[in-house]
């Protein structure tokens, strides 16, 4: 059975900097796979490569065995690959209702309908309602996104990716910047993702990583530095030196 996501020799240069260097990563189906590494290690770059925001200078990407290296970003979504962004990428003048409605109608192939009023398909609306409820956004669904508290915006950021009903979901620091009291909502929503959805996530919060991940890859300077189960990574002296060591210095 092919991996959910697989890269071979994936590389990307920015001028002189190699933000991704010969990355060969395999993510199993249904995985809870964490990608960790110091700031500037190339984690976000890797997600940008996987989703087609950036073109690789070399290497290939397979989604469920299918080569998607040259596919446009929106086509990858159609094949079941969705993501969230480290910095919220929302539609400021939309409401959460419109935001989720947009994604659901696009997924069901109605996004290009120009002759009917938005909201006139009931089946679709049930879908929208269930996403909004799952992410505790139903109360705020008519507020403009730009006026929502950051925690709610962060939930919407994730809900929007989930509304695409991906089989492989990439989360770029889902809890980044979320105040302590709102964190549990984010964590709970991530934990509640269906088991069969493959999740690859970047996170700096080690509690989250170790409570949630079943596999961890460590990225340093654009290369895969180590990979293993949480126990193996926790024991790895080199990882401690490079990554956890840095955090200890920070603290």
């Amino acid at each position: 059975m092919p991996f959910a996501l697989e890269t071979a020799g994936l590389s990307r240069q920015f001028g002189g900097i190699a933000a991704a260097k010969d990355v060969t990563l395999r993510v199993e189906r249904g995985a809870r796979h964490a990608l960790i590494g110091p700031n500037g290690a190339g984690k976000t770059t890797l997600i940008n490569l996987l989703t087609g925001v950036l073109r690789p200078s070399a290497g290939s990407i397979l989604l469920e065995g299918r080569d998607i290296t040259r596919l446009a970003p929106h086509r990858r979504v159609g094949l079941g690959l969705a993501r969230t962004f480290q910095i919220n990428q929302l539609f400021a003048d939309f409401t959460p209702l419109e935001t989720i409605g947009l994604a659901v109608s696009e997924r069901l192939g109605h996004g290009g309908d120009w002759w009917r009023v938005a909201g006139s398909r009931l089946g679709l609306n049930q879908d929208i309602a269930s996403v909004l409820e799952r992410f505790h956004l139903a109360d705020a669904m008519h507020e403009p996104v730009s006026t929502l508290p950051y925690g709610k915006q962060r939930l919407l950021e994730i809900a929007l990716a989930v509304a695409c009903r991906p089989r492989v979901l990439l989360l770029d620091e889902p809890a980044a910047g979320v105040p302590e009291e709102d964190r549990h909502e984010i964590l709970a929503s991530v934990a509640a993702l269906p088991e069969d959805v493959t999740v690859l996530f970047i996170e700096h919060d080690m509690d989250l990583v170790f409570s949630f991940a079943r596999r961890i890859s460590v990225l340093v300077n654009g290369t895969l530095f180590a990979e293993g189960t949480p126990e193996e990574i926790a024991r790895d002296a080199r990882v401690k030196a490079v990554y956890l060591g840095e955090e200890a210095v920070d603290a």
Binding site: E106, G111, S120
Partner: protein
């Protein structure tokens, strides 16, 4: 959580559809337009010009206000439609004006489709230059092929048959105004439908954040191509209307001034709520008319001053002053 999903879904449908509902101010606006047919019989010639400018501005609003594509060469499509209508009539290919109008619009839409790939990428500046360039080239092509187009003299000796075989254009401009107003209204209805549809929603998302739009599966390019094509068709119909009601067409339809004035119209009226082009067209024409009689030599100075004031002070604040009571400002004006 305890609510039945079906009930929530119906509530959602209601809420989503709310934006699409007709506001009282909108009905007043169109009632006033219809009333002008009866109340201002002496002004039908300028009113017809206003209706055409309004349709043309609506076209630019579709790409600027809803897709964020700025253009300094929208006259390319206006002119293309104008020449199509002129040639169709001159060579008696299609005599009936409504049919000729539709064909001219389709031709302009085809041109829009063919040139849309030029505006898919790039900054506002590139788009300004590319659209400007296309309009300049078309003007030169029309100039060069003078055997067909009459070159600098324009298309002479066009006769336009009565609309639907019944309503003949005459010197009073009655038929012309009713015709232009009816076409503008119908195309407005279609545009209104379009912007409140799922397509319209996705267009707004593409304008607001193309990166995220693509990340939820929306083909940004397909959306931009589609709306650019539609807008070009609208502009072509506006141009064809001008040819038909004036029974004349010259290189001036492609002119840079025409494209630039159009941006002015939208700056005056505002973008992204569909009425900006219509209100802007009325204000622009009235202002132009009034200033031209007050100060024939300096009217452009005053237009320029208004432009600077609008951009610096902001239309919303000025509208606020004008209406004084904020409650009277239509809600849509306050939307970004």
């Amino acid at each position: 959580m305890s609510t039945a999903p079906g009930i929530v879904a119906i509530a959602l449908a209601d809420r989503l559809a709310q934006r699409a509902r007709w506001q009282p101010v909108e009905i007043v606006f169109w009632a006033a337009a219809a009333a002008s047919v009866f109340l201002l019989p002496g002004k039908h010639i300028i009113l017809a010009e206003i209706a055409i400018l309004a349709l043309f501005a609506l076209s630019l609003d579709l790409i600027l206000g809803y897709a964020g594509i700025i253009s300094l060469g929208h006259a390319a499509f206006f002119g293309f439609g104008a020449y199509c209508a002129g040639l169709l009539a001159q060579h008696h290919l299609i005599d009936e004006p409504v049919l000729a109008l539709a064909v001219s619009g389709l031709a302009a839409a085809a041109l829009g489709f063919a040139t849309s790939f030029l505006v898919l990428r790039g900054s506002d500046l590139t788009r300004l230059m590319v659209t400007l360039g296309v309009a300049l080239m078309l003007r030169e092509i029309a100039n060069r092929f003078d055997a067909l187009t009459g070159g600098a003299d324009g298309l002479q000796g066009i006769t336009i048959a009565p609309v639907l075989g019944r309503f003949a254009f005459d010197i009073t401009g009655h038929a012309a105004y009713v015709y232009a107003l009816a076409v503008t209204f119908l195309l407005f209805l279609a545009a209104r439908r379009l912007v409140h549809s799922p397509f319209g929603l996705s267009l707004r998302s593409v304008k607001g954040n193309p990166l995220r739009a693509a990340a939820i599966g929306i083909s940004v390019n397909a959306r931009l191509v589609a709306i650019y094509t539609v807008a070009a068709g609208y502009a072509g119909i506006a141009g064809a209307l001008l040819t038909q009601i004036s029974a004349f067409c010259s290189l001036d339809v492609f002119s840079f001034d025409r494209s630039a004035d159009l941006l002015l119209v939208l700056i005056i009226g505002g973008t992204g709520y569909l009425y900006g082009g219509l209100i802007g067209a009325v204000l622009f024409k009235l202002m132009q008319d009034w200033l031209a009689t007050m100060t024939p030599q300096y009217w452009q100075f005053w237009i320029g001053l208004v432009l600077v004031a609008i951009v610096l002070v902001g239309r919303q604040r000025m509208a606020g002053w004008l209406y004084c009571a904020r409650g009277l400002v239509p809600d849509m004006l306050r939307r970004r």
